[in-house]
């Protein structure tokens, strides 16, 4: 990890760790939500930003993680620790199957097939009432007694997210991610340097599904419930928007996107019901003027300043 990024990461951790000390119950709840959303958006960016795969079905693996954990833990009484890890593993297993079919397609077809699978998972969650609770979902999920107080849930969420973000950071700076970048830039050329493009796409699809599954489990631990609404198409759009707004070519981009959109959502909704109008306008501005997102603005500004300084030197 570069020193600047290490300091940034530590600073962030300290900031989030101080929330329960200085914030209200609502603030703690809101930031716990923010933490697993950051995890969720960053996991999606392994596909979107690093590999160039626009998945609109990522919410499916989030939901599988959430439902699998809930069903194992609440319905079958599987120990908390086992259920906690099994949820993401089952999400990854589902990602292997879905990914195997999806990575055969490219661009728009890939995107729509992922969306279709998310809809299938929604239909299962909605209709398979004896197992999933149907429309009402499953409520009253009481986690391990240690996690009953909100503060404990918050710190647990913070710890898990910090560890998983670190793992994703390492992946994002590994030889594997450079190969993903090559696939994003030029899949034909990538094949010519010995890369089995579909295999690598499937691997990253599975890894990404695994992390999304963890985000789903953390959602259940906080809300103590799971329901089919978490699979709505708008949820998929929200998380893609976080990646785009924050910047898909930067590891920290989705995190910044999640922070901006969740805080903005909370602020705007206090004054108006037209949140989608605000979101749409913001997305249009970013896509048109800052295609590399918020994190792309700083390098762009720095390049502009250098250019102006150079022109000044030449004129002098």
């Amino acid at each position: 990890m570069k020193n600047k990024e290490l300091l940034f990461g530590i600073g962030l951790f300290i900031f989030f760790a101080l929330i329960p000390v200085i914030g209200s119950k609502y603030t703690i709840y809101f930031n716990a939500q923010l933490l697993f959303t950051i995890l969720f958006a960053t996991s999606l960016n392994l596909l979107v930003g690093y590999t160039g795969l626009f998945s609109f079905g990522h919410v499916g693996f989030y939901a599988i993680g959430a439902y699998a954990f809930t069903i194992l833990y609440k319905t079958y009484g599987v120990p908390f620790g086992v259920s906690f890890v099994a949820g993401p593993l089952l999400a990854a297993g589902a990602a292997v199957i879905v990914g195997y079919l999806c990575v055969r397609l490219t661009k728009i077809y890939f995107t729509f097939l992922t969306l279709a699978f998310a809809q299938i998972i929604w239909a299962i969650a909605f209709k398979w009432t004896p197992v999933t609770g149907g429309d009402s979902g499953i409520v009253g999920i009481t986690p391990s007694s240690l996690l009953l107080p909100l503060n404990n849930t918050y710190f647990f969420t913070l710890g898990v997210v910090a560890v998983l973000m670190y793992v994703m950071y390492r992946i994002a700076h590994s030889p594997f991610s450079l190969v993903l970048n090559a696939i994003r830039e030029n899949p034909n050329r990538a094949e010519s340097i010995g890369v089995n493009v579909r295999l690598y796409q499937l691997i990253v699809f599975t890894i990404s599904g695994f992390f999304a599954g963890f985000a789903g489990v953390l959602f259940v631990l906080l809300t103590r419930s799971v329901f089919p609404d978490i699979l709505l198409v708008t949820r998929s759009i929200d998380v893609v928007a976080m990646v785009i707004v924050g910047g898909m070519y930067n590891f920290w981009g989705p995190m910044i996107g999640a922070v901006v959109l969740l805080y903005l959502n909370s602020f705007v909704k206090a004054y108006t019901e037209y949140w989608l109008l605000v979101l749409g306008t913001l997305l249009a501005v970013v896509v048109l003027f800052f295609p590399s997102g918020i994190t792309g603005i700083f390098p762009w500004l720095s390049a502009r300043f250098k250019l102006v300084a150079k022109k000044g030197e030449l004129n002098a």
Partner: protein, 245 residues
């Protein structure tokens, strides 16, 4: 080293390559020439697995490679560059070559290892060979066309190919740049002992560097031999060289 036997390929009824047979011997510089649409790039794509032949067989060092995937063929020792620029344009010059080295050394599935200085020496050596060391940190998409061509060569060399297929490596370059580029290519492949099969339109370049020339016309081989034999071949003269020389 490379043996192509009666290979054909058609697209929607159009026969792009018809019953083509040819050989490239180890250590030689072979050129594949022909008019636009003669089937040269299609033949390259068939050899490197980017296209599947309708019939015929292709052998590399006596191993059948027909219908293998491009990523398997490159690992057997056949590298290539493309007619149109094919680099990873958002990545730096260093990363473009580093990816190829990582893939060649089978370290692409390292998930947690930092990549920053991985195979730095190997990558630097290749950049040095193709004259791009000074530009290692530049974003490759911002380089001039000529430098991007050199980078393509660097990417292809990362696999230490025994046979290198270059598809119009000097296309789009000025006459002076063409001479420099070909000099660079010939020096690099001779230093490495690499066999070269090149598609090139500049006949002065072709006849000055080639040990062996294959002429394609409308998907068929109409000439195959030493440069002087090919130059004197009446059918080649009539179909192609008459226009060029």
């Amino acid at each position: 080293m490379l043996r192509v036997e009666k290979v054909s390929k058609s697209f929607d009824g159009f026969l792009a390559v018809s019953q083509v047979s040819m050989r490239v011997k180890e250590g030689e510089i072979a050129s594949l020439i022909g008019t636009n649409g003669a089937g040269k790039t299609t033949l390259f794509n068939l050899i490197t697995g980017h296209l599947r032949s309708d019939e015929g067989e292709i052998y590399f060092k006596d191993r059948r490679i027909t219908h293998l995937h491009p990523y398997d063929i490159v690992r057997l020792g056949i590298g290539r560059s493309f007619q149109r620029l094919n680099i990873f344009s958002r990545l730096t010059v260093f990363e473009n070559v580093q990816i190829a080295v990582i893939s060649y050394k089978k370290k692409a599935l390292s998930f947690l290892r930092p990549r920053e200085r991985l195979f730095e020496d190997d990558t630097e050596r290749i950049l040095d060979d193709v004259g791009l060391s000074a530009l290692r940190n530049e974003v490759s998409g911002s380089l001039s066309f000529g430098y991007q061509k050199q980078l393509e060569l660097g990417i292809a060399l990362a696999f230490e190919p025994e046979l290198l297929l270059l598809d119009e490596p000097t296309a789009g370059l000025s006459a002076a740049d063409t001479r420099d580029a070909m000099e660079l290519i010939v020096n690099v492949i001779k230093a490495r002992g690499t066999t070269l099969l090149v598609v090139e339109h500049d006949m002065h370049v072709v006849f000055s560097i080639s040990d062996h020339i294959i002429v394609l016309h409308q998907g068929r081989v109409i000439g195959d031999g030493m440069p002087e034999q090919v130059r004197k071949d009446p059918e080649v003269q009539k179909s192609y060289l008459g226009e060029s020389l």
